[in-house]
Each structure stands twice: as C-alpha cells, then as structure tokens.
Amino acid sequence: MTRDNYIKKLQNYLRKLPQSEIEEITYEINMHFEEAIKAGRNEMIVADALGHPKRLASAILLEYDVSQLSSDNTALDKFLLIMRIIGIGFKNIIVAPFLLTIGLIVFSIYLIVFSFYLMGGTFVVAPIIKYIAPAIVSTGPIPLMLYPVIGLVVLLVTKKLHQLLSKYSSGIINYLIKYVKVDYKKLTL
C-alpha cells in the first residue's frame, strides 16, 4: 500500500471522529512515513509495518469511545449508556462476555420495570377500554372499578422500584466504566 493510500484508508475508517482528531492522527502518521522514508525505508514496507489501517483505526476508535464514556458520566439516560458499554464490549471479544452479561442483566431489569409500568397503566385505563371495546376486556370476578386502584398501586410500587434501580445501576455502571477503562488498555492493538 502506498503512503497516500494508507492515509486515505485510515481517514475513512476514522470518519466518525471530530475533524480535529482526524487531522492530529493524520499528521502523526504522515510524520511517521516522512521519518521512515528519510531513513531510507520503502513506503510500502513502512505501510506494512504500521499494521492494517483498519486495525490502527479500531484501536484509535476504541480509545476514543472509552474517553467519551467518562465525559458524560452524569448522563441521565442510563439506558443509552448501558447500550454504549455493551457496544464497546462487542468491539472486543475479551471484555465482551463480562460486559454483555452484566449489561444485559441491567437491561432486562429495566425491561421488567417497563412492563410493570405498562401493566399498571393498562389497569388504570381498563374501565375506559371496557367502555370503548367491551369485547376485548374480560374482568373476571374482580369488580371493574377496582382495576384502576390496583393499577395505581402497581404504578406507585414500580416507581419506587425504578428509583431504587436507578440508584443501584449507577453503581454498576460506574463499575463497568472503570472495568472497561482498566481493561481496554490491553486491547489497543
């Protein structure tokens, strides 16, 4: 691969980074070629010795992803943060099993909470649905007007659980971030 080709490929793989970062990396790799050629090395050999541009790019991107994690540590949307941690895990086979397991456990607990919200909500609006479409609601032996009451209790309990989950998942998320940070150092190239 020629020098121009190498740099073009590298830039293409790095395109999701901010322009300034891409320029910085390009300068560095360009200088590497510059020095190597000055020392009498063939540019094709230098490109080979640098490692495939895709590999170099993924090491840089991984490093970038992890540095981004800490900058929005306070992100309210824990859900997305968990997904991103799982995403980083996916990029590397070594941390993936651990991150996937913990990440998916937290994720499924969130889904359970969500389904309880859904259940509570459905109970609350049960009389309205019964009124609109009597055929699809079968209330059984429980009086219809009791459903909104049960629904409200479920919603309140779920809200409390949600708060607890948020509190504890912050701890888990912080731990995950710390874990990724320690471990990813071994992964870069």
Partner: protein, 109 residues
C-alpha cells in the same frame, strides 16, 4: 512473545523511554523495536491515550528538513504512573521467578 502480554508491557516501555528524554513518535517506535517486535502503528493510539490521561504533553519542534516533529514529554503524573507500573512489573517478575524456581526444585526430586 504473547501479544496480550506485550500490550500490557508496552505502556511501561514507552513511559520508561520518555522518562529519560523527550521523543517524537517515530523515535519511540524505533527504540521499542530494538527490544521487542510490535506493530509500529500501535504506539500512536497509546500516545493519544497517554495524552488524554495527562501522562505526557506534546510540543512541535522544527527539524532539519520536512515538517516540524511532534515531541512527547512525560509529566509528573506520567512519572507516578511509571513508578507504579514498574513496581507492578517487578513484583510480578519476582513472584513468577519464585514459582519457576520452586517448580524446578520439585522436578529435581
């Protein structure tokens, strides 16, 4: 040598090189290559990480020919990290040596 093992040690090696003098990227690559085989590109993500963690700072300096070189300089924080890593490495090396010696004497029996 095992790649995972090398990756972990590369941090220590680069910090050690920079603790003696300021270097530019290509210079660091060559210094590391004298002692171990690495993919030359692997130094650059590492240097970027060091910079983000404030282990090193960088400055540009004119060279005789061509564009200015980017030099890396170790910071106080970088020196502390270096001391820690060095201690870890020495401890690790000692315990492995003890293990190997013990196994060797067991074999002789």
């Amino acid at each position: 040598m095992n790649t995972q093992f090398k990756k972990g040690l590369l941090d220590l090696c680069v910090l050690s090189i920079l603790s003696h003098e300021d270097c530019y990227g290509y210079d660091i690559v060559n210094k590391v290559l004298e002692y171990m085989e690495i993919s030359e590109g692997s130094i650059y993500p590492l240097l970027r990480r060091f910079k983000k963690e404030d282990y090193v700072s960088s400055y540009l300096q004119e060279s005789d020919e061509g564009p200015p070189r980017k030099y890396y300089k170790i910071t106080t924080l970088g020196r502390e990290a270096y001391e820690d890593l060095l201690k870890d490495w020495n401890d690790f090396q000692n315990s492995i040596n003890r293990l190997l010696e013990k196994e060797a004497t067991n074999d002789q029996r």
